[in-house]
């Protein structure tokens, strides 16, 4: 990337001076021009730089395998995806799992269940359990980010699938990791949380299983998801860490674990962008900036 002749030779200096993202769009465009797309480069790019919003959905789709790396077959595969979506949708409609009034997130949930063969019988549909709630909140967030329902469904499905297959094993270790980093960054807060007993009750489910869907506003969330989709679940730990650090003063003031949880579940939506930016910096600091080699 750096030795790409098409790239502006000044780009290296832009970052030194503090301009971020000046050349990134261009280099991403160069990456996207490749045929077949180099998934590794794309994911490295996505890890290193924030994605321009105009390419975000496309890159996600490629990274999640919704679109193949060969741009020639994008249309064909896109058609397949669309048909599949419609088929499932129609089937669900015919079977009266859903109707026009069903909220789209529930539609997605049913479709997902159908595809993963866990769809309960019509008569036995129960209130969504924890896992379904995770799915629903992710799909709610995704719905905000993506306009097209077909893309939205596919992104949700593939995101959830990929997340579970890729990070399903490492999820239980994330709280420990969070504790570790918190002890390095702000041991006082950690002690406070430990003493009040809030550490065990932190909203890990919201943070790590739902990937902050419903916790951060979509504008900030998609930047976190960029990293998740491009293959890092560590970022979740750092976002959580940064949230804790940002509201340190307030958290220090709350003594009851329920209060801490309540506050963390409903953090203010104002400066989440800054939080995410700081979290990404922190992540780069601890995990290093991912280079070409993976």
């Amino acid at each position: 990337m750096a030795d790409d002749p098409q790239r502006n030779f000044r780009s290296a200096y832009y970052e030194k001076v503090g301009f971020r993202g000046v050349e990134e769009k261009k280099s991403l465009e160069i990456l996207l021009k490749d045929n077949p797309l180099d998934l590794e480069k794309l994911s490295t790019f996505s890890q290193r730089f924030p994605l321009p919003s105009m390419y975000r959905i496309h890159v996600w789709k490629v990274l999640l395998g919704i679109l193949p790396p060969h741009s020639d077959s994008h249309n064909l595969v896109g058609g397949y995806r669309k048909e599949q979506y419609q088929d499932i949708l129609e089937a669900l409609e015919v079977m009266r799992y859903i109707n026009a009034a069903t909220p789209s997130t529930h539609v997605y949930l049913r479709m997902f269940q159908l595809e993963s063969q866990v769809l309960p019988r019509c008569s036995e549909t129960t209130a969504p359990d924890e896992e379904n709630e995770d799915f629903l909140s992710i799909s709610r967030a995704m719905e905000e980010i993506v306009d097209d329902p077909i893309d939205c469904y596919w992104l949700i499905k593939c995101f959830v699938n990929q997340f579970h297959t890729k990070f399903g094993d490492s999820l239980p270790h994330l709280p420990k990791s969070l504790e570790h980093y918190l002890s390095q960054e702000e041991p006082r807060l950690l002690n406070h949380l430990k003493n009040t007993g809030a550490l065990a009750q932190l909203p890990y489910g919201l943070w790590f299983r739902r990937c902050f869907a419903g916790c951060l506003p979509e504008s900030s969330l998609q930047r976190v998801w960029d990293k998740v989709i491009s293959g890092s679940c560590k970022i979740l730990v750092f976002v959580a860490l940064e949230i804790l650090l940002s509201y340190k003063i307030m958290l220090m003031g709350i003594n009851r674990p329920e209060g801490v949880v309540k506050f963390l579940c409903n953090i203010p939506q104002e400066n989440t962008d800054a939080i995410v930016t700081k979290a990404i910096d922190l992540w780069h600091k601890y995990c290093g900036t991912p280079m070409h080699a993976v």
Binding site: H70, S73, V77, D87, A91, L114, E115, Q117, R121
Partner: protein, 1126 residues
């Protein structure tokens, strides 16, 4: 100083000298002393002197000094005895308005004055003090708050038990109300809200309140704002006085200045009635306003002004021309001397009034209204007084006029009668005539302007004042020449006005002598008193008279009594006694007659003070009038200027007109010139055109000539070229000739050489012959041979070398070729690699696409599964709901099933009639209550029948199988069948001859052919069908779905259709198995399911095996690719 001091002190008594010159000297001396002296000795002496003697001169001098005087006066104030004279002095000083007067507020004198007013009980002192205070107030408007409250306290304290005091308190009331309305009203509110003061309020304050209008400041101002010094900065003293007068409704206090000119009509008459009756006894309505002059009420005094002014203009201007401001100003500015000299009687009113021309209109109108009103009131006593007060002026205008006329007649008659009685002084007549006649003239001349002015000024009243007011005057004046007696009478009536003031003591003593018509005034006074008594009876209840009026009346009575006494030739003292007596009887009935003289004196003092106060007020008016006059002069000057500018404008417009005309002339001339120019231009243009034509002609000719010239030149060139060529030829030939000559010489020399060589040849031939001969002689040698050999060897070597070279070249070529081929090879390899890469790429792409389509397919499969589940559920429900109907229908179905099975078996066994088999299947379907569509492809018949047969064997099972559970596959009815059927699968494909087979072929040919190469889809399809069946424990109708698909794989074995003897076996398994079976064997791996499922695995395992194998293949591919990559 000390030396001079006694001198000056001694000089003081000399101030009273009658020698004017000496007096002047002494005054100058004292003033000098005062200005140089540091101490206050002389001043004190002066004050003491004044206090002792009441000297007017001393007072005059004193009023110029300031500080010490104030200290001294303050000192004197503390002494009871000196208080009155001190106050008088203070009054004088204040009325002089020295420049330092505003500082007085800072001196203790003011405080002691206030204290005195608060504590003293002597009426005279109080009144004098109050008057001083009233005069002082406008001069120090920004007094502090504590002062203000002290004023109010004084106001509140002064219990009114004397009319004089009442009058002065009344004035104080007006002053305070006019200056500090808010504070004052709040004071009144606080003070009179107390119960003990209530009575006083009712008696004293309330009547006063009736005489004031609401002060605008009460609405807009605040207490603090009133005390704000900035508020007062823009006012002069007289402004403040006028402001105070403005809020008064009492015509005696009020000002008729701007905005207040139209007095309320229903109020006015009543006052004026009292006025009239008191002063003139209602006798002379025409001149009653003039009598009011003496009381310094603005309207009446102004009523006098035109007359006065006009008399001047008349006397000074022979034409009696217009009363222009310019002509009238001297008259106004210098009234005192003229009046005192020429018109002694009018002098007093003239003093009080500073007439100004613009006021003429107003005052004239005022006068007219006065006239009218007085007439009305005069009549009121007789008949219409009641109605008049009630009726509005406009409604009764005509009526009033009529009345007026009739009254007038009567009045005039009365006047003439009275005049006969009056002993008059003829001395005044000329002046009065001179006064009257110009007035007439001027009114004539002024009417035009005055009417217009008055109409604009009066607004509503525009019509009647002049009709009802002026006509009588005109009428009256018209008569004046013919009846001079009337004029005298009028003058007689006029005279009482000064007389009403005359009771005031010292300064007007001189006027007493001049007041000649004493008898007349006495008479009038008597009349007045009579009228007063009369009117008092009438009016008392109507309206509470203004305190000033009461005082007036009292004074009038006093003077009346006095005059009576005079008339009866009694001394003034007695008259005073009389007055005193009256006053005492009216005002303070309790006082004993013992100290009559004393009281009389105090009364006199009081009156004097009152007079001084009124004079001061008049002066303030004068100051104001002067200022207003200045404005008028400015205005007229501006008007003049305006007119002049208008004239200039006119002149300039005329200029402009002439200029415009000249402009037009110029324009015409210009137009003519333009036309001329145009013609010249056109002419010149035509000339130019002609010339241009000529020029063009010449130009063409010129061109022709030039072309000719060019031709000639060309020809010349050609000729020259020819010439050159000729020259060239000549040169060439010359050159050739030269060469030839050289050659010739050469050939000659060669010929010579040839001959020489021939000779040599001959010689050599001879020598050869000789050598030959010699050779023959010597014999042949070996050397020659050796030479020959050598030569041949050399030649051989040469050839060998040549061949070596060729060989080397060949080698090079070959090597080059090798290199070429090598590069070619590498290229090829590269190409191959690329191809491989591309292939990989394509593979990846295809894989991705395949994955997508696979996921689609998976989804489809899931959908189908779900749909089937749903269907099953529905079926089960239907069957649950209608158990009775199935109970009746199913047994036959069950019974029929074996038949159909048999039929189908036989049908299949013989491969003959499928139609027969199809019917039972339908029946069974119906028997199951299924809604299987009759339009099902016929190709499915066979499988349907088998399915039915399965169903048939399981007849009782369906209700149990409603729930598709994962355990279902184990209870699959197919379970026992597959093992036995397995080998038979090959022949399961319907025979090509059969209709079904053909149909199926037709249907699936393309697909199968295309898929033949891939080999994968068929088993997968079968697997699908199978998987579905096995996993979901498909109910009988399910084959209906699956069967159309199942034939698809069958074409594969078609190349080797082996109609085995076992063809008669149930077709369910065969249909699914044939494609899988060969692969089954081909694939070395067995699916774990198959192993586990043993029997049932036959159905299930196929699907399972088909897929894993496929996946395996895929995996192999991946591995390969990965290996290649890595």
């Amino acid at each position: 100083m000390a030396r001079e001091q006694p001198n000056v002190g001694d000089l003081l008594p000399l101030l009273e000298t009658s020698d004017l010159h000496q007096l002047e000297e002494i005054r100058g001396l004292i003033n000098e002393q005062l200005s140089t002296e540091r101490g206050s000795m002389l001043l004190n002496g002066l004050v003491d002197y004044f206090l002792e003697t009441n000297s007017a001169q001393a007072m005059h001098i004193l009023s110029f000094s300031q500080r010490h005087l104030l200290d001294k006066m303050n000192e004197c104030m503390t002494k009871q005895a000196c208080r009155l004279p001190t106050l008088t002095l203070l009054g004088h000083v204040i009325r002089k308005q020295p420049s330092w007067i505003h500082k007085i507020a800072r001196y203790p004198l003011l405080l002691s004055l206030l204290k005195c007013l608060k504590t003293d009980t002597d009426v005279v002192v109080l009144i004098t003090g109050v008057l001083v205070l009233i005069t002082l107030l406008p001069m120090i408007p920004q007094a502090g708050k504590q002062h203000l409250w002290e004023y109010f306290d004084i106001f509140g304290r002064l219990e009114v038990y004397l009319i004089h005091l009442h009058a002065s308190v009344y004035s104080l009331f007006h002053r305070l109300y006019g200056m500090y309305p808010c504070n004052f009203v709040s004071y009144l509110r606080s003070h009179y809200s107390m119960k003990e003061n209530m009575e006083t309020f009712e008696e004293v304050v309330k009547p006063m309140l009736e005489h004031v209008r609401i002060h605008p400041e009460l609405v807009t101002g605040t207490k603090d704002h009133e005390l704000d010094p900035t508020r007062w900065k823009k006012y002069e003293i007289h402004d403040i006085v006028i402001e105070c007068a403005k809020v008064s409704l009492d015509p005696k206090e009020a000002s008729c200045e701007e905005g207040y000119a139209t007095m309320p009509e229903n109020f006015y008459p009543q006052n004026s009635t009292c006025e009239l009756n008191s002063s003139c006894g209602g006798k002379d309505p025409l001149w009653s306003p003039s009598s009011l002059c003496g009381m310094a009420t603005p309207p009446s005094s102004r009523g006098m002004s035109p007359n006065l002014e006009l008399s001047h203009s008349a006397s000074h201007l022979p034409t009696g021309g217009k009363g222009t401001p310019a002509s009238s100003t001297p008259a106004t500015s210098s009234p005192p001397p003229t009046l005192s000299d020429d018109f002694p009687i009018i002098s007093l009113p003239a003093n009080t009034v500073q007439s100004s021309p613009p006021r003429k209109v107003c005052s004239a109108v005022m006068m007219c209204s006065y006239l009218f009103v007085s007439l009305k009131d005069a009549g009121a006593a007789e008949n219409v007084s009641m109605t008049l007060t009630e009726l509005s002026v406009f409604m009764k205008k005509q009526e009033l006029e009529l009345q007026f006329r009739t009254e007038k007649e009567r009045e005039e008659a009365a006047i003439t009668e009275e005049l006969l009685k009056i002993t008059e002084d003829t001395q005044e007549l000329p002046g009065l005539r001179g006064f009257d006649s110009p007035f007439y003239h001027t009114t004539e001349t002024l009417t035009g302007s005055e009417t217009t002015a008055s109409t604009s000024a009066l607004g509503l009243e525009q019509s009647w004042p002049f009709q009802s007011g002026f006509t009588p005057i005109d009428h009256h004046l018209h008569r004046s020449p013919s009846a001079p007696d009337d004029e005298v009478g009028k003058l007689g009536m006029f005279s009482p006005s000064p007389c009403s003031k005359t009771p005031a003591p010292v300064p007007y003593e001189s006027f007493f002598d001049l007041a000649l018509p004493r008898a007349a005034s006495l008479f009038v006074g008597q009349k007045t008193s009579e009228a007063v008594h009369k009117v008092d009876g009438e009016e008392e209840g109507v309206v509470s008279a203004s305190p000033l009026e009461v005082l007036d009346r009292l004074v009038q009575q006093g003077s009346d009594a006095h005059d009576k006494v005079l008339k009866s030739c009694v001394y003034v003292c007695e008259a005073c006694d009389h007055v005193n007596y009256i006053i005492i009887t009216t005002a303070s009935p309790g006082s004993a007659p013992l100290d009559e003289l004393h009281t009389l004196r105090s009364q006199l003092l009081l009156l004097h003070n009152q007079l001084l106060y009124e004079r001061y007020k008049r002066e303030q008016h004068a100051v104001r009038n002067r200022r207003l006059l200045r404005r008028i002069i400015n205005a007229t000057a501006l008007e003049e200027q305006n007119n002049a500018m208008k004239d200039q404008l006119n002149l300039q417009s005329v200029d402009i007109l002439s200029l415009r005309e000249s402009l037009q002339v110029e324009q015409q001339r210009y137009r003519q010139l333009w036309d001329d120019r145009e013609t010249v231009v056109t002419r010149l243009h035509s000339q130019i055109r002609q010339l241009q034509q000529g020029r063009d002609d010449y130009y063409t000719k010129n061109q022709e000539l030039q072309s000719k010239l060019q031709e000639c030149q060309k020809r010349m060139d050609e000729l020259e070229a020819e010439l050159q060529r000729a020259n060239n030829k000549v040169c060439h030939t010359g050159h050739l000739l030269n060469q030839m000559t050289v050659k010739l010489s050469n050939s000659e020399s060669t010929q010579q050489q040839m001959s020489f060589l021939n000779k040599q040849l001959l010689l050599l031939g001879e020598a050869h012959k000789l050598s030959m001969q010699e050779l023959h002689h010597t014999g042949t040698d070996n050397t020659k041979e050796a030479q020959m050999l050598q030569v041949s060897y050399a030649k051989e070597v040469e050839t060998l070398r040549q061949s070596l070279l060729v060989q080397g070249q060949k080698l090079d070529a070959a090597q080059q070729r090798v290199a070429e081929l090598e590069t070619h090879l590498s290229k090829k390899e590269h190409l191959i690699a690329e191809q491989k890469k591309f292939l990989e790429d394509v593979k990846c792409q295809a894989k991705a696409e395949l994955q997508a389509s696979d996921s689609r397919y998976q989804a489809q499969r899931r959908i189908t599964q779900l749909l089937q589940t749903e269907l099953l559920q529905l079926y089960s429900r239907v069957e649950m709901e209608a158990p009775a109907s199935t109970a009746t229908s199913s047994p036959p179905g069950g019974r029929a099933d074996p038949h159909t099975l048999a039929d189908s078996r036989s049908g299949w066994g013989t491969h003959t009639n499928e139609e027969a088999a199809s019917r039972p299947s339908h029946d069974s379907a119906r028997g199951n209550g299924s809604t299987l569509s009759p339009g099902q492809p016929k190709a499915s018949n066979s499988s349907k029948s088998t399915a039915n047969s399965i169903n048939g064997s399981q007849d009782l099972a369906p209700p149990l199988l409603v729930e598709p559970s994962p355990s279902c596959p184990h209870v699959n009815p197919l379970a026992p069948l597959p093992p036995s059927d397995a080998p038979l699968t090959v022949g399961s494909y319907p025979s090509a001859k059969s209709f079904l087979g053909m149909r199926a072929r037709e249907l699936f040919r393309n697909k199968s052919e295309s898929q033949c190469d891939e080999e994968q889809p068929p088993p997968r399809l079968a697997g699908l069908a199978h998987g579905l069946k096995t996993e979901l424990c498909v109910e009988p109708p399910c084959p209906g779905y699956i069967v159309p698909v199942s034939p698809a794989p069958s074409p594969i074995p078609t190349p080797a259709p082996a109609p085995t003897p076992a063809a008669a076996t149930p077709l369910t398994v065969p249909t699914k198995e044939p494609p899988s079976e060969p692969k089954h064997r081909a694939s070395s791996q067995e699916s774990p399911r198959r192993k586990a499922g043993a029997g049932p695995g036959g159905g299930r395992g196929q699907g399972g095996s088909a897929r894993p194998r496929q996946q395996h293949l895929k995996i192999m591919d991946y591995n390969e690719t990965h290996h290649e990559h890595s």
